[in-house]
Amino acid sequence: MARVQLVKRPRRWDEPFGRARVPATLVDSILARSVFRDVEEKDFPDDLALRDIIANDARILKLARGEVVFAQGDFGTSLYLVLNGSARRSSVPASRRTSKRGLAEEQKSRFRRLLATIGRGSKPNDSDAVCANGVELEFPKAQFRRNQIFGVVEALTRSARAATVTANAHETILLEIRWPGMRELLHWSDNFRDRIERLYRQRSLEIGLSESPLLGHLGHDTLRTIAGDCAFETHGSFDWTHRYQREVVAESGGAAIGAHEPVILEQDHYLDDLLLIRSGFARVTEKLDRGERTLGYLGGGDTFGLTEIVESSYGARLQRSQRCLRAIGYADVIRVPVNIVKKFVVPTLPLGTLPDSMLLAEQPAADQSLLDFSVDNRFVNGTKAMAIDTTRCVNCDDCVRACASTHNNIPRFVRHGPIHDKLMVAHACMHCADPVCLADCPTGAIHRDATSGTVIIDEKNCIGCASCASACPYDNIRMEEVRNPDGAFQIDEDGAHILRATKCDLCSGQSGGPACQRACPHDALIRVDVGDLKTLSDWLDNAP
């Protein structure tokens, strides 16, 4: 009979976010701030009291001038409130982005030929202001003062920080609220949710415009003017994973999944705006007989409709969209009116050398079925998916053994998964661009490494609630029964096993990269960004 050890079942706030709980007097002072003034304590349930949330899911940061709160490109899902002093925001303008989508090369030249007919563009004149529609925006905020909040966009979208924030006063004091606490505040307080949503839309618009490779070169004032005419929209839902699992896959078996995705722009509709994808993913399709053929997909930083707008710039009539755009799960979109694009963007387009990110969906996919497989299963979300070439894999399980030997004899993946042709996407954490598993964790145990973005689980903080495992749309997180160092199973007073979430951590902390990939003798396994379909396709085609 297996030996057991009786232990107390871990609970949510056994480990507060800071070294200790935020003292009660300080919580009172925080709740008196304007940000929380209209957050009602009575809206929260007894076991999730507002004061407990602040005390356990928040911590105080005391910083000297110049100290970094977070750096541009870091990953983090905390929200920050300036309690004292101020913080300064600075960012390096986004250079040309590497797009994530599967598109072939041929039609790039088509677009370049089109550009060549346009002639050389001229630099925009920043003084050419477009009339704002009266909407007041806090565009680009350089400084966060007392009682102001920052970090909203990244916390909600689980994305990399768009700017570096440093303390800007001699004694800057910040309240950092980790994601689980923020989620509860958003869930239970309508007022707080409304405020955060307003901020989210506003700042997403700011960041989206300033980061766009098309508009980022424009001056501060021009961008502010443009922002007044732009619209920010969210299509789909942040909680896409649950609906995807419960309804879409169950109903259609994944076959006609595209029809369930919310439409952002219909094919043949007039293209009034250039669409900038701010975050999430969108599928580009075109009608084919009675269905829709996927042409590619867009991720954060990509644009849609530029070709049509450029064409219409030199024709008399407004262009219709030649393709349809649908949100895969959710997609945040900024609509930039056509007249602004024609005025500020078209004249600046460099002759024949547009970045790939501007050429989205111009080309048919090189491998249509691979594209369909990747997009339908939403593997495009994966930045480090485990791809196995089944024509090379001899089932030797060296990858599994290597994983086990580097993780206390418990492998962190299952060498099995959906297969398309000779590609198997194994059940190993893909370290998603949008890791939805983070959303429901009550302790923040599952999080992204601040610098690499790798999704990892802090074993100390995992309470075994399995919310991450059930949220993962790809079934890549497992619950394991915890043993003590002597090998005895840990059980609670009711006799139930203590569980802990476990998943691939890309062998973080070990040199050389993932052991599974290094251990494969037949070059049959790679960790790959599925968004980069060309790399994946090349790897599959180049069997030794």
Binding site: T391, N395, A515, A519, C520, P521, H522, D523
Partner: protein, 270 residues
Amino acid sequence: MGGVFRNVAITGAGIAILYWLVGLYDTALRDPRFMDGWILLAGIAVQLAFHFRKRRPESRAGQVSSWMTIHIYAGYFVIAAFLVHTDFAMPDSLFEWSLWALFVLVALSGVVGAYLSRTIPGKLDQGATRVTLESIPAMRFKLAGEVDALALDSVDTVGSQAISEFYVDRLRGYFRRPRNLLAHLRGSRRPLTRICNEIDNLERYVGEPGTDTLDSIKGLVVAKNDLDIQYAHQGLLQAWLFLHIPATYCLIVLSVFHVAIVYAYSSGAP
């Protein structure tokens, strides 16, 4: 493909240099067998290094796939070195015969294994869904239970003895263990066709009510056939290693013994 040409070129160059060295020793009236013997032993040591690299996944000494490539091409070099060392002659004592036979066994199993590792994985996905070798017995047991239940039900629901008799005569044994493995390795579909024809022939006895049962049974037979295909190919992928690895260890022991004997009876400097 470029990588293959490069590797073949390097291996060929290595073998050419070995021949040149042997010729040089011959010209100098020195016995080249000490020199090519040590080269052969060094080649075997390189082969062994692959094994140790595989056993240490945390090692930073390159990807195992790179070591595998070295293992394969160095293996061809070692075969050439062996032929040079033996002077293309057959052994003439029991000990040498043992050494020779072991080397041939290791080399042949290695070459065949490399070939199987390249060719079999592609066959695993043709038709049937790939399953792990370990899960096959459980899946086969489940199929056997389902066909058993269908045969039993057919007595009551269809009122047919033909199905139950066919089950006892043909299907029970078919589902009990892997069947027709050699035929599957050859890629032959004859065993499946034969049993399906036999099932089709039963339709004349069972009439319309039993047709559904026979269709279900046929589906299970096809599923079992797919499992057998997986079992045959995956089993072969693992089986060759059971020949290659133990023979390698024996070869190493005898080789060390061989070197000790050679130096014990050598007359001095070669």
